[in-house]
């Protein structure tokens, strides 16, 4: 009984704070507390018509999509190169590729800031995308590498035996069987970019401000209901990403199961 209550309390602790924000964004005045004085969409209106938030949203999407594209491209190629390889060079490369995830993000941000500034890449889109590729790549390599290593070698051989040329076999057999791993890597990569604020604090200029960066500035001043509206919109967005991820993982699990039954 006590055990159940404790668990319930922890789950409430995880979820309730996030949910508590949503109703406040529909408040008709600027006091951030309950009971709500009345309902209105004024904060949504002011967010959706604000050039600042629009630019931030566009920047977040542009940077996120570009960084994800390159992270998936580079990460998938590298995973094929790394798969089923042993030895000191291979483990050194694995550590190299995973380390942007382990090194505290502030160090990555500061190092990139000092390095990109003389190249005139701070305060540019290119600089932000480069920095986000660095932090997104491990999220692609982890699932894709695992998927490649779990691939049945015989599939490729079967394709060859059936007369497929290597490239055909790759595109028709190998790639489809790792595509769901690539997709989940892409989602994680996008989420990593979409959630980043530390790199944006150092590398982005006023024209590259992303949603989290703009929220950061907002939170440093007095917090306005506008922010709760942005938070709600972002919550819907990340819930969609999460649901996409869930369905993809279910698909992957099914595929693995059917592969092991076969």
């Amino acid at each position: 009984m006590l055990f159940g209550l404790v668990c319930l309390a922890v789950l409430v602790f995880l979820i309730a704070p996030i949910l508590a924000v949503i109703p406040l964004s529909f408040s008709s005045n600027s006091i951030l507390s309950y009971p709500l004085p009345g309902l209105s969409l004024r904060w949504y209106e002011s967010v959706l018509t604000s050039p600042k938030w629009y630019l931030a949203f566009v920047n977040s999407m542009k940077i996120g999509l570009a960084a994800t594209f390159f992270a998936v491209l580079l990460g998938t190629l590298a995973s094929f190169g790394l798969a089923r390889r042993q030895g000191p060079i291979s483990s050194a490369l694995r550590i190299l590729i995973l380390s942007p995830m382990i090194v505290p993000i502030v160090l990555v941000a500061v190092a990139l800031y000092l390095f990109l500034a003389p190249l005139q890449l701070t305060n540019t889109m290119t600089g932000m995308i480069i920095a986000h590729i660095v932090i997104a790549v491990p999220f692609v390599v982890i699932p894709v590498l695992t998927a490649i290593e779990q691939l049945d070698h015989n599939l490729g051989r079967a394709a060859a035996a059936c007369g497929a040329r290597p490239l055909t076999a790759f595109f028709r057999v190998t790639l489809p069987s790792i595509s769901s791993a690539m997709a989940s890597g892409a989602l994680f990569a996008f989420a990593a970019s979409f959630d980043d604020v530390v790199i944006a604090l150092f590398v982005a200029g006023p024209d590259q401000r992303t949603l989290p960066r703009e929220m950061y500035s907002g939170l440093r001043e007095t917090i306005s209901p506008e922010l709760t509206a942005v938070a709600t919109i972002m919550m819907i967005f990340s819930t969609l990403l999460f649901l996409l991820m869930q369905s993809m993982q279910r698909k992957r699990r099914r595929m693995l199961q059917s592969a092991s039954h076969a």
Binding site: L11, L14, S33, A78, P100, L107, P138
Partner: protein
């Protein structure tokens, strides 16, 4: 595919990370041991000082050399940096040097820049201390920043000593960083353990639902969650106004912009990183073991501590180290929901890079952070046999 072709596939990412990750990191961390300001601004003075030893008379040729360095360095703007660098070790040197630099540039033609001239500007400029610091800060590499990052300094004779107690900052910051991380780690463990146990005892359907509740905040943007905590915990926030309207308190509680706010918000962010590794370990403990223990006469508490807990230990270790590693590097959450006394190492690294621009100290503090993280990571690798990181 042939091995050679496969290596080619690694080239783009390896090259990219070498250029945009390894080189920047090494470059940044090199500032911890490099001296750049003084060699750039005062090359002539340093040359004169090459053969000078502390305790000897100051060579008189150094004064005209210093004057000439000041004229040229003022043009390139490097004099201010050099003066600031010398001031780290010799308080008062900065204003004296900039004053001298101004007077040298304004001096009438034919002025002799000798000991007397500099002494008349400020006696510190003819002290052996100044030249000792100048010489040390003029070396290509030095341990000044590394020592400073642990509250140590070299005395003028070169011996290592603690900095004066009113200037000791960084060991306390390191200690505070570890303390907050440990606090967050234990809070996550105590909150996460019951949920992980619940996950193993629930039906698959319920477990899936609980996992979604655990993973959903994990996917929610950090800034969104920070917004939520500020809205909840601030003085006029939801919790305070609820407590006041229920009559439980009369004055609002201070729950944010202090340690409480930091620990609560960080625990919220890091809890999933505790629950997931715990769950995957606890899942593997056969249910029969506990039953066997109780049928052999062990009371539930004994069975838990003697059977269940030892088997859960790898998961506990993995979760704790994961949470600790992530907390140690935290920057955004303490910056937004902490007070000045809750800022961790990362904040100092960030502030010294942008604010006052003490890259050497930023780098040395960053090195400490990196070492703590890497050591913990290696321990985690050891404990789990190389399978620390897994997603999804």
């Amino acid at each position: 595919m042939a091995m050679k072709n496969r290596s080619l596939l690694l080239a783009p990412l390896t090259g990219f990370l070498l250029i945009f990750f390894v080189v920047p990191m090494v470059w940044f961390l090199s500032f911890a041991v490099r001296e750049t300001e003084v060699p750039r601004a005062l090359p002539r003075s340093l040359e004169v000082l090459t053969n000078w030893q502390i305790g000897e008379a100051i060579p008189p040729e150094v004064y005209p050399a210093l004057a000439q360095d000041m004229v040229e360095a003022a043009d390139s703007g490097s004099m201010a940096d050099a003066a600031r660098r010398i001031n780290y070790e010799l308080t008062g040197a900065r204003s004296a040097l900039s004053k001298a630099s101004r007077q040298v540039r304004r001096a009438a033609e034919g002025t002799v820049f000798d000991e007397q001239f500099f002494a008349s500007v400020d006696p510190i400029l003819t002290s052996p201390d100044l030249f000792a610091v100048m010489k040390r800060a003029g070396a290509t590499i030095s341990d000044h920043y590394l020592l400073a990052s642990v509250d140590l300094q070299r005395k003028l004779d070169g011996a290592i000593a603690q900095v004066p107690s009113e200037n000791r900052v960084y060991l306390a910051v390191l200690w505070r960083t570890l303390e907050i991380s440990a606090l967050v780690m234990f809070t996550c463990l105590f909150l996460g353990f019951p949920v992980a146990v619940l996950l193993t005892t629930s039906s698959e359907r319920v477990a899936d639902a609980i996992l979604i509740l655990v993973m959903l905040p994990f996917w929610t943007s950090l800034l969104v969650r920070t917004t939520a905590w500020i809205v909840l915990l601030q003085k006029e926030g939801i919790i305070n106004s609820a407590l006041i309207s229920l009559g439980l308190i009369s004055e609002p509680l201070t729950m944010i912009f202090n340690r409480t706010g930091v620990v609560v918000a960080m625990t919220h962010v890091l809890l999933p990183f505790m629950i997931l590794p715990l769950y995957s370990t606890l899942k593997g403990i056969p249910k029969g073991y506990m039953r066997a223990a109780s049928s052999l006469g062990a009371r539930p508490v004994t069975a838990f501590f003697r059977v269940y807990l030892p088997l859960a230990l790898p998961g506990i270790a993995a979760g704790c180290i994961m949470v600790f590693i992530l907390s140690v590097g935290y920057y955004v959450t303490p910056a937004l929901v902490g007070g000045p006394a809750d800022q961790m190492l990362s904040a100092f690294v960030a502030n010294y890079t942008t604010g006052t621009g003490n890259w050497g100290l930023a780098s040395a503090l960053g090195l400490i952070l990196l070492i703590v993280t890497s050591v913990l990571y290696l321990v985690a690798q050891r404990l789990s046999g190389g399978r620390t990181i897994s997603l999804g």
